[in-house]
Symmetry: C2
Subunit: 329 residues, 2 copies
Amino acid sequence: MPDLYDVAAIGNAIVDVSAPATDAFLAANALTKGAMMLVDAEQSAALYGKMAAGVEASGGSAANTVAGLASFGGRGAFLGKVANDQLGQVFTHDMRAIGAHFENAPLENGPATAVSMINVTPDAQRTMCTFLGASVQFTDDDVDPGVIEAAKIVYLEGYLFDAEAARRAFAKAAALAHGAGRMIALTLSDSFVVERHRAGLLGFIETQVDLLFANESEVCALFETDDFDAAVEQLRQRVTLAAVTRSEHGSVILTAGERLTVAAEPVEKIVDTTGAGDQYAAGFMFGLARGRPLQLCGKLGSLAAAEVISHYGPRPQVSLKELAASKGY
Amino acid sequence: MPDLYDVAAIGNAIVDVSAPATDAFLAANALTKGAMMLVDAEQSAALYGKMAAGVEASGGSAANTVAGLASFGGRGAFLGKVANDQLGQVFTHDMRAIGAHFENAPLENGPATAVSMINVTPDAQRTMCTFLGASVQFTDDDVDPGVIEAAKIVYLEGYLFDAEAARRAFAKAAALAHGAGRMIALTLSDSFVVERHRAGLLGFIETQVDLLFANESEVCALFETDDFDAAVEQLRQRVTLAAVTRSEHGSVILTAGERLTVAAEPVEKIVDTTGAGDQYAAGFMFGLARGRPLQLCGKLGSLAAAEVISHYGPRPQVSLKELAASKGY
């Protein structure tokens, strides 16, 4: 197959509703700051009713990564499920408008397009309550072999481990990708996801994953330890390549023989940390797909993460291609 | 009736879709920079398909004004029509989340909630294509006497002059307001609206309007002249009170005996001019409803306009109450 895409990503197709919130609001609604909590349709409506006036924009972790990749000038494809409703149309429009391939048919007669309610506190932390709706109706039938086999890297969003049908879709995608000599990347997404599916994730990582993305708390949750260095060493023994992000401390890149550290890109004012990990993965995979050295892949990741946390919203607002060029990356 | 509201506004209930655009995009799609053009459902879908990835947020001129009023600490009510769909729910949520009264029943089995596609060019100008959808199904049945009679100022959005049923609603609102000793304010909204309904608007202004808002091009269109001073003099003879905005040149406040000039509030960087006039009206009417001198009403308008053009989106992102306090207004 020709290299049609740098990255094909499978993830939850979600529209974000972002609104300012106070710590007191989080406490009153029993929300854990910085985490992602799943809510059902009723809880979703109740929480939305209490939230401040917000802004809607396409989100979804892996979809944000595809948007970042496109901003670097990369060629992306997205696989995911929206409903045939207004927010599904918004998500679809935005994905195509950035030049990404997105052709999964919308769900008919099922739940609505997924919505993530993001309460952003003055410390720039985002606390997410997600109604997964149509997004978890993604099945292995939605995994288009023509897309998977034509992508240098197939990127899987850990959040989808919550849905059994999606886990089957991951298995299908991994088999197709490896059959075509492609690389499988996975992001752990969230420490609660890791806690819910620790054994399944470890098994999948050991047998299928060539490149793992995680942050500190996720990698610690995966190996049930508070010792970051111990967790990282365990991870290094299990995957060919990993990138672990550490917020303001940058990231650590692990290979069989190496442990590289990459500094964080300085940010004048952190406004909203939504999408930092997604954009790091975008920069890293863009570099990797284009054959750049690992250290530079990490720097591209840091650069994209720094851009996205300097404003509201989970997708870049400037051309990351031009930003990288201005830095000489 | 008690003074339940500082302002009750009747306007188009619209959700904005804002996206970056180039001058070439405007030219290729025959869009006049800075203007508002009406599109039907088909044209709307076609244009949306060509637009860049965007951000959705509640908009609508008079609704933005109510949001500004609420940010000053004012008590607002909004009357308008959404459909019973996802974007209608977003609009309704946002209006109630800012503390405004909004109780018009959504339209069933009709067109979708109105959407305004706003293409923002690098010079911060916004060019709007609006699909009016459900919003123009607003009729005199939707004019709640209990709301109109309890508002110090009843504010009417000129855009609604495009819909015959809404013009009847304006007439009903004006009769109710004057019957209760209330003030009727009108904004001309757009020079093309003025050109389409010049005679009707002039008649309504002369017989019903106590306070008129307009910008330079609208007041010139109203009196079919390029001479701003001549237009302003004609206007002064026809209304008790008027405020004419002049972008970076501030505004002019007209009474029977006076012509006051108010400077624009300095802005570090103009990002998006969407909502400038709406926010000026918010500040002005908040001041007026609270019995402040006219010069200060104009300053409050300038302050709110300056805040909204310093960022994307048509509604304030900071507390205008605190901002005004910090200036000693």
